[in-house]
Structures are given as C-alpha cells and as structure tokens.
C-alpha cells in the first residue's frame, strides 16, 4: 500500500463522519490559529519598532528634560523644558564627536491647503534635525539661515502630509498652506521614512516659537523640548554621551549628588531592548498556544484509539485480505495526519483572519510571514505523527484472528 492510498483511505473514513472529524481537529485548529495570530502580531510589532529605529537614524542620541526640583519637591520628568538652544550650540561646539545637533519643540495642529486639511504633528526645528536623521528631500530645499533666524514663514512637509494636502501631479513646492491661521510657503517635501514618521510638518524653530507657541507659559524664548544629536561613529556613542552629560550638568548647574534635569538616551538601543522584550513575550505566547496544540494532539490520539477499537473487525478483514502490519499502521497514521493537516490548514486560515481583524480593530500592524505558517504546519504534522503513532501501532499489532472475531 502506498502513502497516497493511505491518504485516500483516510479521507474516505473521515468524510463519513464530518462532524466528528471536525471536533477532533478543533484543538489543532485553535492551537495553530493562536500560533499564527501571535506570530503575526509579534512580528508586526517588531516591524514597527524596526521602522522606528531606522527612522531615528544611526548613532543618534536624544536629550529630553529630566528631574525638576522646585523648593525641594521633585516634579514629574519633563514638566519643565530644561534644555535650551544655547545647550544645542554648546554641544555642537564643545563636543568633537558630535556631527550635527538640533533642538525641537512639537505640537499638533490642523494644516490647511485650499479645500483640503489634515491634522498632523508640527515640529519646530532647524535644518540640523534632518542632518541628524539622515533625512533627504524628495523635492525643494531645507530652511535657509535667514528663515531660521527670522521666523520665516516656510514649511517642509513629510510625505504623508504632502500626499493628503496636494492632489497627485500638483506640485507642493511654492504653494501656500496655513497652520493656525499663519500662511506658510512650502519649500521642501521630505523622502519617505515610514508611515509613523512621514506624518509631520517642519517649520523653523523660531517660527514655531514666535507664531504658534509664543503665548505658552512654560516656554521661554530660548528653550526647546528635546535635542537630537548625531555621533560620528558607532564606537563613540558612550563617550559622547558622558561628555554631553557632564557638559549639561555644568551648564545647568546641577549640584553634585542631585539628579540630572535632563536625560540622554540612545533610542535605537532602547528600542532594540524593547524588541527583545517583544520577542520574549511572543515566544511565551507561542508556548502557551502550543499547549492547545498538545491538547489537540491528545484529543486526536483519544479519538484514534476509539476509532481503532470501533474498527477492529475492519482491521481483521484487511489483514486477512493481505494487509501487512505496516499497511494498517500507515492507514491509521494517515488518518491522524490528515486530521492534523486539515486542522492546521483551517487553523492557518483562521489565524490569518483573526490577525487581520485584530489589525483592523486595534490598529496594530500585523505581519503574516511564510515562516510562521510553515512552522504551524510543521507543528501540526509533528502532532499528527506523535499522537497518531500509538493508535496506529496498536491497530497494526492486533491479531487478525481475534480482530475478525469481534463484533
């Protein structure tokens, strides 16, 4: 008897009892569907992180406000903007490893072009920002020195904003848009960097302060919300970091022993750590889902044992008609395999549906890769072989004479 015949006999047997066959494979269906879903969500989260890491740029340090003390009371981190434009200047001038640096303040606002409008992040910064992030222009130019110094009414658009405000073929460069009633000329459109990064509009730092945020009470004319700085080489990250720390402690007159009023972070490293954490959680969830696969396997073994008992006479007949022990074993093994493979296939389909639903409803990015599907199918084949073997072996060992005597 060939493998193909084994599968034919198995399909024939399973078709006779579709409900029972389906219930038998339900555990596998659920197990495989959970594995595929967990993988899809996990690798989606990783993709998102990788995109963020890429979009920050290589060898970038980020300096954000830290602990603030007012009369000995520690306030929440970032509750006061402690960094200034002169800090940026000092970092650039005094730390040789720093190639570029820029301060930013940011908020969200409605951006309007003729009849179209779009809500996006407004980032007030200097051209250095694009240097730090290795962010090229798709069209136009960066801010000029005059525009940066004199609160020029100019804007550089991220590709998402450009797409939302301008019809295809409509050149944004030179067009007038309005942000908070201020008319601005589009001087540049940036390259794509990733969906989460491209939804932004940049204006000169001075423009943002003077025209948009001028009245905000916690802004003094010199302060910025955060600073990003680019270190020349990968090996200099740690050194540059401690130099920035000591420079800023000195400039901010942080007394010895007191916490810094700023934090220097390596966002790429932090995200890589986060990525590791996501991987761990995903593996844990896969392990939990595998338990369901295990339960599914046991249920298949159980049903197969019952089926062997029910069909003892059939086994006797097949043996009498010339079926070898291995033919009987193959027949029942094929049945278990078909159950597992079918369950696996339904599970994969279910997992894909489920993860797409999750993606739509929760707004998460999910990513289904062939690897996860392959793994799930390998798991189900393994389950079929492991849990199908014992009943199949048992069936093959039945004495044909005894088997023929059973009712």
């Amino acid at each position: 008897m060939t493998m193909l015949q084994g599968f034919q006999i198995a399909l024939h047997a399973l078709r006779l009892n579709p409900l029972r066959s389906f219930l038998t494979m339900l555990g596998i269906v659920i197990g495989v569907a959970s594995i595929v879903t967990v993988f899809a969500i996990g690798s989606g989260a990783q993709l998102r992180l990788q995109e963020q890491i890429r979009s920050i740029g290589a060898n970038v340090l980020m300096i954000t406000p830290g602990a603030v003390y007012q009369g000995g009371v520690r306030l929440k981190d970032g509750s006061k903007l402690t960094m200034t434009e002169s800090d940026v200047q000092a970092i650039l001038e005094q730390i040789p490893e720093i190639q570029a640096a820029a301060g930013s303040i940011a908020g969200t606002a409605q951006v309007i072009h003729e009849s179209k409008n779009w809500n996006t992040t407004i980032n007030g910064t200097t051209t250095g920002h694009f240097m730090v992030r290795d962010w090229q222009l798709a069209a136009g130019r960066y801010f000029s020195g005059t525009e940066e110094a004199g609160a020029g009414k100019v804007v550089i658009l991220g590709s998402t904003v450009a797409r939302e405000l301008f019809a295809p073929g409509d050149d944004p460069i030179g067009a007038q848009i309005r942000i908070m009633k201020v008319p601005l000329e589009v001087v540049g459109v940036l390259d794509r960097k990733g969906p989460a990064q491209d939804d932004v509009a940049f204006v000169p730092l001075s423009t943002a302060k003077l025209r948009f945020l001028g009245s905000a009470s916690n802004i003094n004319r010199d302060s910025v919300a955060y600073i990003i700085a680019k270190v020349a080489a990968d090996g200099q990250m740690a050194g540059a970091r401690s130099e920035i720390e000591s420079l800023l402690r000195q400039r901010h007159r942080v007394p010895a022993g007191q916490e810094d009023d700023f934090k220097v972070q390596d966002p790429a490293a932090a995200m890589e750590a986060q990525q590791g954490a996501i991987r761990t959680v995903a593996l844990l969830l896969v392990a939990i889902a595998s338990v369901s696969l295990l339960v599914g396997g046991i249920s298949i073994m159980n049903v197969m044992i019952v089926s062997v008992t029910e069909r003892t006479r059939e086994i006797g007949i097949r043996r009498a008609l010339g079926g070898r022990m291995r033919d009987i074993r193959l027949q029942f093994l094929c049945e278990a395999l078909v159950l597992c493979l079918l369950g696996g296939a339904i599970g994969v389909a279910g997992g894909i549906t489920l993860s797409m639903t999750v993606a739509r409803m929760a707004g998460w990015i999910t990513s289904i890769d062939g690897e996860a599907i392959g793994l799930a199918l390998v798991f189900s084949i393994a389950t079929g072989l492991i849990f199908g073997f014992y009943p199949a072996h048992k069936a093959s060992r039945l004495s044909p004479i005894e088997a023929l005597k059973t009712e």
């Binding site: 008897m1 024939h12 047997a13 006479r313 009498a320 008609l321 010339g322 079926g323 022990m325 004479i401």
Partner: protein, 241 residues
C-alpha cells in the same frame, strides 16, 4: 515419476491455546495434503477445531507443533509480511458473516485484496468487474453491503476471494447464515468454480453439502477422525498415519 507437489501439506499439526495457564488443544496432530483442483469439505461438531485449522491453512495463524507447507514452503519460516502478501495473492477467504467493509460499495470491497497486491486503481476496478461478473453480481457493483441480501453479500465476498486468482479459496461455513435455497445457490457457485480448476476448502455443518464435495475431512476434539474421497481424482497417498 514423482507425485506432483501438493498445494497444501499439513504435517503433524497441533495448535494449543493457553489461557490463564489452562491449555486447550484445538487441533491435535493433524496431517493431510490438498492437491491442486480439489474441493474439500471440513466437518465436525462445534469446537472441534475446524476454524483453527482453516486459520493455519490461510496463514492467519501458525501451528504450535508440526508444519504447514504452502507449495512446498514451510509457512512458519516466512516473515509476517511475506505471509500477508501471500494472503493477498494466494488465499481467498470467504466467511460465514461475509465480512464486507460496510463503508465501501461492492466493487471497492471486491478490489480490496488488490490494494495490498500493489495493483493500480484502474486495473483493480477492471478486475473487480470481471470478478463480480463471474458471481453474477455486476449489476450491484455500486451497492453498499447494507443494500444487499445475505446471499448477494456472500456472492460479493466470493468475488472478493477470487479476484487475485488465488491458489486456494478457504470458506468457513459460507452458507451458515443463509436459507437453504440461497445456500444451495452459493454451493452451486463453488461447485462451478471447482469445475474450472479452483481449489476450495469449505467448512460446513451440513452433511448434504458435504456429500457434494468429493472429499470430506472430519474432525473431532481437534483430531482428524476421517478423510474420505468419494471419487478419487488423484492416486490416494497415505496422509494419515
């Protein structure tokens, strides 16, 4: 000139079952030969060891003592797989309770031994049709066993036993579950098959049936008590000591 090699040869065959330390000798020291083309009735009271004997001839069981030879080969020396393959190609079983697979139709049941003989599906079905034709059941080829009468099921079972052109057909009370008229029809079928040269061994309780077979072997308590050939076809050889 030497006598032709017997198809089946039993030499001092015994079969003892051991259950919970109690030994039951189902067959004791039985010897006989069956030649090509014979039709043999095996008779004896219930429990006398007929089925046990038949299982050994059919390679489903091995003797505890003595030897069973099929075409000169000691079957105990063959591997389990080899014995299975021989069952597929050289032995045709017919049972009292038909033993058709309920979930397969007549033609699939008939073709089953060829599945284990490694024959292609097309060839299997073609030969199954011939076989069904031979027992007059071709018009029921796609019926399931439950849609057939007892006599019809037994005809399908006989078609299945014949499909591989076996050396020998072994029938264990083939008419036992049938009324006398249907039984007679089945018997006529066996007689017709035997006229074409098919070797048949048939267990029966019915003396009327036995008289229609040229040779009758009688068992009692596992022992062979008589081996009579009414019209000798071959020179009688001493098989019983």
């Amino acid at each position: 000139m030497t006598a032709p090699l017997p198809l089946i040869s039993l030499r001092s065959v015994s079969r003892t079952y051991r259950t919970d330390g109690v030994a039951v000798a189902a067959v004791r020291n039985v010897s006989f030969d069956i030649a090509q083309g014979e039709i043999v009735a095996v008779m004896g009271p219930s429990g006398s060891g007929k089925s046990t004997l038949m299982n050994m001839i059919g390679l489903l069981d091995l003797p505890s003592e003595g030897e069973v030879h099929l075409e000169g080969a000691n079957v105990a020396e063959l591997s389990e797989d080899r014995r299975s393959s021989l069952r597929a190609r050289s032995i045709g079983f017919v049972f009292q309770s038909y033993n058709l697979l309920a979930r397969h139709n007549a033609i699939e049941n008939v073709a089953l031994p060829l599945v284990y003989g490694g024959i292609s599906r097309k060839a299997r079905l073609a030969r199954a049709e011939q076989s069904l034709q031979a027992v007059g059941m071709l018009h029921r080829a796609h019926h399931f066993p439950r849609q057939l009468s007892g006599g019809e099921q037994q005809r399908v079972a006989i078609a299945r036993a014949l499909i591989a052109s076996p050396l020998i057909v072994l029938a264990d009370e083939p008419t036992g579950a049938l009324d006398s008229r249907t039984g007679a029809e089945i018997l006529a079928l066996f007689a017709a098959l035997n006229r074409t040269g098919q070797t048949i061994v048939m267990i029966t309780h019915d003396p009327g049936i036995a008289t229609q077979c040229r040779r009758t072997i009688r068992l009692h308590d596992g022992e062979l008590v008589s081996d009579e050939t009414l019209v000798p076809l071959l020179p009688k050889r001493s098989a019983v000591s």
